[in-house]
């Protein structure tokens, strides 16, 4: 198991964070997720890691609707800084919204996912996040997402 893989997940919902951790535990990757409660915490974690010359996460997963710094605001911040702009960002929203989807695409997100409704789907999502970091999985591009949405 490659312990250098870290996925930074931001969600203000404590239950969602718990479910996500649970899913990673279930697929035997309890150390992979780094769970924070909002966008500010994402920036704090990254700047600290950067300052300490630590290893930046391989993937950032952002909930959209978060207090203080929302998903899109955080995304904009990340993409505007040279140190972080290459980190892939996936938007993990509780619902499908084509306007938000367009906005996130514009801001440079990698993909847009709707949070799962079942346990199995959660396990699969966690596995996909991890596999993506190992270049074993690719997420659908925005254009196909938007087309599907139509």
């Amino acid at each position: 198991m490659d312990n250098t893989v870290k996925i930074l997940l931001a969600d203000d919902d404590v239950e969602d964070r718990f479910i996500m951790q649970d899913a990673f535990n279930a697929i035997n990757l309890p150390e992979v997720p780094l769970l924070v409660e909002d966008g500010e915490k994402v920036l704090e974690y990254l700047s600290e890691t950067h300052r300490n010359a630590g290893v930046l996460p391989s993937l950032v997963v952002l909930d959209l609707n978060m207090p203080r710094l929302s998903g899109t605001q955080t995304l904009r911040e990340l993409k505007s800084r040279d140190a972080y702009k290459d980190i892939p960002v996936i938007i993990f929203s509780s619902s499908l919204n084509v306007i938000e989807m367009h906005e996130c695409k514009q801001l440079g997100a990698l993909s847009y996912m709707v949070k799962p409704f079942t346990y199995e789907e959660y396990l699969l999502s966690a596995q996909h996040f991890y596999d993506f970091c190992l270049n074993k999985h690719s997420f659908p591009e925005f254009n196909s997402l938007i087309n599907n949405f139509k």
């Binding site: 509780s94 619902s95 084509v98 139509k150």
Partner: protein
């Protein structure tokens, strides 16, 4: 003949005048006393004759001074209006004829004209300026007698009266010809004079209006105000104006007039009476009114636009609310779905049958709720985007919709037959949704006795296109037609047919969006026909 003076011949007293004037003219012309007497006698003879037998006679004294003729004559011409006068001619005329150098008697249709001519010796001395002097010497001539004086004054008076009559007639003719009412009126508001337009317009003579106080020609509701206005302004003794409607006799219409009244005062400033005019200003008033109406209309339009704006805003807010609400509703719902799924997977063995049943019911209730919110989101999203009409091949839309419904179509062994559909301008996403909803319904509400068969075809009627979705399903009672297209209205129990009651409401919204309509016809058990009517320019 150039006239120098004239004398009317009425009584014997006039003979004295004739004699005196003729003598004077002879003297002025330089005749000897004998010649003067001869000429005067001749003129008097003729004058006596016409005074006795004639009618309305006049004697004109003058001079005949033709440039081409070296000889000049004093002239005496008598005009008489009795055409039968010649019959009475007797020797006095013959005598007069002998006394003068020239004599003529002419009969015209107006009467008789007797002319005497008396040669002036040494006539070369007479120039036109002399004649002018003679004329003026006769006009300033002192009266010879009181009779002469009275007679002259009389003549002047008659001339004046004639001039006055002429000018008054002229004035009346002019004012009567004007298409406006000109009047004079006393302080009591009684007309003293009015031109003929008053009668022509109102149908009333001045005295009639004085009796009825103008009541029939003024609007009933204005009557009291108009008179009040009159009394008020008359008391002020200054000119005033007022707009008033007067009833036209021939059309019965009330026509706007501008009434102007000015006081006429005597030398000490007392108002004698008032003069004024009433001018038709109806066209101007109508124009003013039209302008005002137009302005009101514009204001109304602005107000309406404002209201439409407000409505659009609140509509938009409502849609945003619906969207946000359904969006936020999804969040807890997702949790319930997740936890019940989790429970079902990991703890199903730990609970009894009733518990499992309830868990299952909870999960399916949750699924319905999810579907409901999903549909509601779609429904509220119909207005959400900036839509653009796109020329679209409806055959392609139908195919896409059928692909999406592939599972259901196969599960029900449904036959779907799409006849050649037109290419028209639509909002493609929305129209595809409509196709999907209608085809999905047609397959869903099928009769157990037979496999669903659906026909989709188009008909062009005038400038509208009708898209018809015909099925052989269970149909519906047409009394539910209106209800069917409302949000959340369902005709069947959930056990029999699943659904949220949003599909047809969505179809109606999409039809509205295209400025079209949707309706349906059916008989229970005999299938249904849904008809979407679109303007072909849509």
């Amino acid at each position: 003949m150039q006239e120098i003076t004239r004398i009317t011949l009425e009584t014997d007293m006039d003979l004295v005048l004739v004699h005196k004037r003729t003598m004077k003219l002879g003297e002025l012309a330089g005749l000897s006393l004998a010649s003067q007497t001869t000429f005067a006698t001749a003129a008097s003879e003729v004058a006596r004759h016409v005074i006795e037998y004639g009618y309305n006679a006049v004697l004109i004294l003058g001079i005949r001074a033709d440039i081409k003729d070296p000889e000049k004559f004093l002239m005496a011409r008598v005009l008489d209006h009795n055409i039968n006068l010649t019959e009475k001619i007797h020797e006095s005329m013959v005598y007069a004829k002998k006394l003068v150098d020239r004599f003529s008697l002419e009969q015209t249709d107006k009467g008789i004209e007797i002319t005497l001519g008396f040669k002036i010796p040494g006539a070369h001395k007479i120039i036109s300026s002399r004649i002018e002097q003679w004329i003026s010497s006769f006009s300033v001539e002192q009266p010879i007698s009181p009779y002469d004086e009275i007679k002259r004054k009389n003549r002047l008076l008659q001339e004046l009266a004639e001039k006055l009559t002429n000018s008054e007639t002229q004035y009346r003719e002019v004012t009567n010809a004007l298409p406006l009412i000109i009047f004079s009126i006393n302080e009591e508001g009684e007309l003293l004079y009015a031109n003929s337009w008053l009668k022509a317009f109102t149908g009333f003579e001045a005295h009639e209006l004085n009796e009825n106080k103008w009541k029939p020609v003024i609007r009933e509701e204005e009557f009291a105000f108009a008179w009040e206005f009159w009394w008020q302004h008359v008391a002020e003794k200054t000119p005033f104006k007022r707009e008033l409607e007067l009833k036209n006799d021939s059309t019965g219409e009330f026509i706007w007039h501008l009434i102007s009244v000015t006081p006429v005062t005597d030398e000490i400033g007392e108002v004698l009476y008032w003069t004024g005019s009433m001018v038709d200003i109806h066209a101007q008033k109508v124009m003013e009114q039209t302008m005002r109406d137009n302005k009101e209309l514009k204001e109304m339009k602005l107000l309406l636009e404002e209201k439409v704006g407000e409505l659009n805003r609140s509509n938009q807010e409502l849609e945003q609310f619906a969207y946000a609400a359904s969006h936020d509703l999804q969040e807890p719902l997702r949790k319930i779905a997740y936890y019940s799924d989790y429970l079902n997977k990991h703890y199903a063995e730990l609970i009894d049958e009733r518990g499992k049943l309830y868990l299952g019911n909870m999960m399916s209730a949750n699924q319905r709720m999810t579907q409901l919110i999903h549909d509601l989101l779609n429904f509220s999203r119909i207005y959400r985007e900036n839509l653009h009409l796109v020329k679209t091949d409806l055959n392609i839309l139908a195919t896409e919709a059928m692909n999406d419904l592939d599972l259901a179509i196969k599960a029900k062994h449904a036959q779907i037959e799409v006849s050649q559909l037109p290419v028209i301008s639509v909002y493609p996403m929305q129209m595809r949704q409509l196709f999907q909803n209608l085809i999905s319904n047609a397959v869903k509400f099928s009769d157990d006795q037979r496999a669903p068969s659906v026909k989709v075809y188009a008909e062009t009627i005038g400038n509208v296109v009708q898209l018809i979705f015909e099925d052989n399903g269970v149909g519906f009672e047409e009394k539910y037609l209106d209800k069917m297209f409302s949000l959340f209205q369902r005709l069947h129990s959930r056990e029999k047919y699943a659904g949220t009651g949003i599909g047809l409401a969505m179809c109606k919204k999409i039809a509205d969006l295209h400025n079209g309509t949707i309706t349906a016809s059916s008989q229970p058990g005999n299938g249904a026909k849904f008809i979407l009517t679109l303007p072909s320019v849509a």
